[in-house]
């Protein structure tokens, strides 16, 4: 294993650890930028969708994976972002303003829902955010004048400086750029005092407080940031689906987002992206093998959601680190090859916590 030689504390603050990983990420980015030149429209479109879900996954990861707050209402943030962007575009606001505006307005809603739920955690918080989600869904449906009601409306093609961002390629590049920006900002947050405060709240509220962390303010900010990022994903999602209707932002979508962060691996941005990839690729995989499944399994109506549910349960039971946990172990295995010892990856039983606020 090669460990970079450290000569100063500043070195630990760089995002890429060592020249190897810097090159790897640069290559990855170049490949991503070149993919539309090679792949067909269908695949480019699907990858664009994957990026959008990865953005939303990063948004939820900051809240659930790093701050320890579960949200079953993030589909509503996606919806607010999508509608805000589409409605502003329809009123002639340029895309470069409507998309950030969608993020900002959603962030505002995030803080709004964050404040009343400050004293809640776990199941109570999940239910409160679920309720928020269904309220937003109802508003989108009933506010005909603005949202087009149940029928929804078609989303305009955005343009930047006169260039129309059309088709799968437009969504692909827009989503890729936003994803890179969002990951960069998230990494910055995580190496700053705010990110550490979030982690502190996740692991022990009582001592976070004693370290001088304002629980209410930090949780509200976490909600705001998570919602803002999800709102950006929503704004892009509007262009991905091209027609907005309120029933696209229901509880099932929220559960998909939660599944992304759990399957990907809580507490890891890599995990959010792995999770999104898994979430978007599994339906394709099912579609491919559907007709060959025995006993008419392929014709079962609820096959896809049940499979997600099953996988979610299995991951929580056997690999709490999610896909990212596997990835880390795999990397450690090859780095130490052939000296790998199994216990090196064994999880330690976490110690009991007894001193609680309530």
């Amino acid at each position: 294993m090669i460990a970079p030689f450290k000569t100063g504390y500043a070195q630990d603050l760089t995002l890429a650890k060592g020249p190897g990983s810097r090159i790897a990420y640069a290559v990855l980015l170049a490949v991503m930028a070149a993919i539309p030149l090679v792949l067909g429209e269908f695949y480019v479109g699907e990858l664009g969708g994957l990026f959008i879900f990865a953005i939303a996954g990063v948004g939820l990861m900051l809240l659930t994976g790093y701050t320890g707050l579960v949200s079953l209402g993030n589909a509503a943030f996606l919806g607010i972002g999508a509608y805000t962007n589409a409605i502003l575009l329809a009123r002639g606001v340029p895309f470069l303003i409507s998309l950030p505006a969608a993020g900002l307005l959603t962030a505002f809603f995030g803080v709004l829902i964050g404040v009343p739920t400050l004293r809640m955690s776990g199941l109570y918080l999940a239910i409160a955010t679920l309720a928020f989600g269904s309220i937003i869904g109802t508003v989108l449906q009933k506010w005909d004048g603005l949202t087009g009601g149940f029928d929804g409306f078609a989303v305009q093609t955005p343009s930047i400086l006169g260039f129309k961002i059309e088709g799968a390629w437009g969504v692909y590049y827009a989503a890729l750029i936003v994803l890179v920006l969002v990951v960069w900002v998230s990494l910055n947050i995580l190496r700053s005092p705010l990110g550490r405060a979030m982690v502190a709240i996740r692991d022990s509220e009582i001592s976070a407080q004693s370290m001088g962390i304002n629980l209410a303010v930090t949780k509200s900010i976490a909600f705001g940031i998570s919602a803002g990022i999800t709102g950006l994903a929503g704004g892009l999602y509007a262009h991905y689906v091209r027609h907005l209707a309120p029933d696209s932002f229901d509880i099932l979508l929220s559960i998909q987002l939660v599944t992304i962060v759990f399957i990907g691996g809580l507490g890891s941005l890599h995990g959010a992206i792995f999770g999104a990839a898994f979430m978007r690729l599994l339906p394709q995989a099912i579609a491919m093998v559907r007709d060959d499944l025995p006993f008419g399994l392929g014709q079962l109506p609820g096959l896809e959601p049940s499979l997600f549910g099953l996988i979610l349960v299995l991951v929580i039971m056997f690999e709490p680190g999610g896909i990212n946990g596997r990835w880390v172990k795999l990397k450690a295995y090859f780095a130490a090859f052939p000296l790998h010892r199994k216990p090196a990856a064994r999880r330690q039983k976490s110690y009991a916590k007894s001193e609680r606020l309530r």
Partner: protein, 255 residues
């Protein structure tokens, strides 16, 4: 002038009177120990000082300021740090991250600056890192620096919690049973650190402790508590020989 004073503080939980009419003062630079059987109300006093509980009656004065009703997250930047009886570290973060969280009360970079990790944030981070490294060196934690807390042995975690409290650069340090769960050697080591913290860093310490050997070794004064009330207050020898204290301990933990 005393650095800390509890004036007639009381704490009720429903019908339970966990602490009642307790008054004491702590002088700058001293180690003030609180002893007493389980359930005596020792941790409750700490929770009142760190404002996790609001006293049902009485006042808390720190450095001349009434802190009875300031919010709990402002206790650290007043200069009061604490450890917990059952270790409350951030288990899924590294040792270094835990220490850096201890620096939180000293950080004042803006939100947007953090989003972009601007040079001001970078400079502040390096300064915090230097302070955290001083603490790592002071407590000899170098080889655990980048390990997750969840993977560290119990004895090391106790020391990390002490280190995290030191990162606050406190004037007053509250230690809740620093030796609990430690073996004899580790307890002895903890005693040396407490003395170092007192002598080298000049930090005033209030300590809740069961191990009478440790109490005797480091304390300037001792307060014995039972059922939420003060039984005796004085030097370690005076308190240990107090007839009331001896009576309270019969059937309880040995003195």
């Amino acid at each position: 002038m005393s650095i800390f004073a509890a004036q007639d503080i009381a704490m009720n939980f429903g019908g339970i009177r966990a602490v009642e009419g307790v008054s004491f003062t702590v002088e700058p630079g001293e180690v003030f120990s609180i002893i007493g059987p389980n359930g005596a109300g020792k941790t409750t006093i700490f929770n009142m000082i760190s404002r996790i509980y609001t006293p049902s009656a009485g006042k808390l004065i720190f450095a001349g300021e009434d802190i009875t009703s300031i919010p709990p997250h402002q206790i650290a930047n007043r200069g009061i740090a604490r450890t917990f009886q059952n270790i409350e570290l951030f288990a899924n973060a590294t040792l270094l991250q835990n220490l850096l969280i201890g620096r939180h009360c000293h950080s004042q970079v803006g939100l947007l600056a953090q989003f972009g990790f601007l040079p001001s944030v970078r400079r502040a981070e390096i300064a915090h890192r230097e302070k955290a490294e001083e603490v790592i060196e002071f407590l000899g934690l170098q080889r655990y620096r980048d390990q997750l807390i969840a993977n560290l042995p119990y004895g090391v975690r106790k020391v990390v919690e002490l280190g995290r409290a030191l990162c606050i650069e406190p004037k007053l340090l509250l230690l809740d049973e620093p030796s609990s769960g430690l073996n004899v050697e580790e307890t002895e080591e903890m005693g040396y650190w407490i003395e170092d913290i007192k002598q080298d860093l000049g930090v005033t310490i209030i300590m809740v402790e069961h191990d009478m050997k440790l109490v005797h070794a480091v304390s300037d004064r001792v307060m014995a508590l039972a059922s939420g009330r003060i039984l005796a207050l004085g030097t370690s020898a005076e308190v240990q020989n107090d007839p009331e204290v001896i009576r309270a301990y019969i059937g309880g933990a040995p003195v």
